[in-house]
């Protein structure tokens, strides 16, 4: 009992509040990555696990470029290019070599681990704001939030434009109905490769910003990224649909992915504030994603369960018999 009291009295709400801006900044940066996951998971209907690797690739390329004296914008662009290539490889493994989607992503991801180590030369490279002129950094969190939001607006705008074009429409139709797409003359393999490339390019951009924000690039920084991305996408869509219902348009959907990322990191902030061991955060993430994935399914199932339907039918029959009598 004393332990519990001690535990609660040791929790200082101010600590949580002081950490909140940092959580928001990280949530925005990872929300950009989640937009990449949105492209594959929601639009292309492709569970792409490349992202764990390409996120770290973004960080690795950025760090090495900065260390070799490149300006930060060039480092970020190079990161995007590396991500595009990573996605291209997963796409070719899947379309040209017939490897199933999840496996193609895993293969690229595992290969990227070695590639990332080779790029960096070691497992961890510091890129401190003291030595480099960075786009954003945890040393100035309000600035990082503003920059993150500017990136979000630009990326969401570009995605809104692109997926409204003729070419972008082919990606959406390929994800939703490949048979129809082929019948309408769409090369679905090309659509898949383009979508995977764009997605991983965006993920690598997020990795680049993340490395700058935290002040180092680490070969393990992308571990579990796909699950965090899914968490943001799913939390965002569940909450967005609850608020906007049928008025959810594409821009709102995309905005809620970023919002999902922020919420995820705030939830993480709460978990750490409650002094749960950091070793358990991945477990916590997995549980959250599982819950958000399961809730819509269970809701639908309970509506159409055999038991419930049979009960309702029996009731109706009884009523009918009574009214006939």
């Amino acid at each position: 009992m004393d332990g519990l009291i001690n535990y609660f009295s040791s929790l200082n709400p101010m600590t949580f509040l002081s950490q909140l801006p940092g959580n928001v900044a990280q949530g925005i940066i990872w929300g950009l990555m989640a937009l990449g996951v949105f492209i594959t998971f929601k639009l292309l209907n492709f569970a792409d696990l490349t992202v764990d690797g390409s996120f770290a690739t973004g960080g690795a390329v950025t760090a090495v470029m900065l260390i070799h004296g490149a300006p930060v914008w060039a480092a970020a662009l190079a990161a995007v290019a590396a991500g595009l290539i990573a996605g291209l490889i997963t796409g070719l493994l899947h379309t040209a070599l017939g490897i199933p989607d999840i496996l193609a992503g895993i293969l690229t991801q595992i290969a990227l681990y070695s590639v990332n180590l080779n790029i960096m030369g070691k497992a961890n490279l510091p890129v401190s704001y003291r030595n480099y002129d960075l786009i954003l950094s945890a040393s100035d969190i309000p600035h990082a939030i503003v920059i993150g939001l500017i990136f979000s607006v630009i990326v969401i705008g570009l995605m809104y434009w692109y997926f409204g074009t003729e070419q972008g429409s082919t990606i959406r139709s390929t994800g939703s109905n490949p048979a129809m797409s082929k019948a309408q003359g769409i090369n679905i393999n090309v659509a898949k490769v383009i979508a995977l490339s764009l997605s991983n390019g965006l993920v690598a951009l997020s990795g680049s910003l993340s490395a700058q924000y935290q002040g180092f690039s680490d070969v393990n920084m992308g571990r579990g990224a796909i699950v965090i991305g899914l968490a943001a996408v799913i939390i965002g869509s569940v909450i967005g649909e609850a608020i906007f219902r049928k008025r959810m348009n594409f821009i709102i959907k995309l905005s809620f992915v970023i919002f999902g990322g922020i919420l995820y990191y705030i939830a993480m902030g709460i978990v750490l504030w409650l002094k749960m061991p950091t070793d358990d955060t991945k477990l916590f993430t997995a549980v959250i994603v599982a819950i958000f994935l399961a809730v819509p399914y269970l809701k639908e199932k309970s509506k159409t369960s055999f038991k419930r339907v049979a009960k309702q039918n029996l009731k109706n029959l009884k009523k009918e018999a009574e009214s006939n009598a």
Binding site: Y162, G164, T165, E166, Q167, G168, S169, T170, R172, S173, S176, N177, A179, M180, S181, K182, A183, Q184, G185, I186, N187, I188
Partner: protein
Amino acid sequence: MLEIIDVHKTFNAGTVNEKKALNGVNLKLNDGDFCTVIGGNGAGKSTTLNAIAGVWPVDSGAIMIDGEDISALPEHKRAPYLGRVFQDPMTGTVADMEIIENLAIAARRGQRRGLGWGVKKYERELYRDMLKQFELGLEDRMSSKVGLLSGGQRQALTLLMATIKKPKLLLLDEHTAALDPKTAAKVLELSDKIIEENNLTALMVTHNMKDAITHGNRLIMMSDGKIVLDISGEEKKKLTVEKLLHKFEEASGSTIDNDRMLLGE
């Protein structure tokens, strides 16, 4: 127009499930032919349409459209020549996209798809007028997701998508089989109208003998992966179900064992 020369296709060759689906199909359609295709289960009707559409490569033979062999082309490269409506109303349209977006995708069949808007402003008016003729009320729901439509509405929409860009050949694969009789009749009527107004060449697979007789100017019957009957012109006009059955027995040396076909639903 369409010429199919000695096409063979065997599925699962060399296994216990080996199935000779097409066994030397020969067919020549003239411009403007509306040809109905009838036959029992496994006779090769849908397989013939899939061979034309390029769902898989054929084992041997050639498929020509306007004198050009298309049998080496993958499915999406044959699409510019073809309009297709499938048996399952879910297959022909994208449920997650709006009616107008589906139409816009179909209108670009065979064109390069670049970075211009997927739906241009002028298209809205254009498609509204087209949908109005269908009298299904779809013209007022152009921004609705296709997933909200009924099977019949989706099939009608697929029909419009298949013909919005005039195809050289329209392939209708039992496209009314999954609909209730009233809706099926409406979609068939619509098909007739579109084919006639646009002077299209069409192949229509059906399991309904009456439909096969009353629609189109030509009728072919398939059995065991071959075309066993080919009736056109005056003979087709005078055709009845009884005469057709008799002819089938003569041609194939067996009786029809398919109740679904005989009953004509």
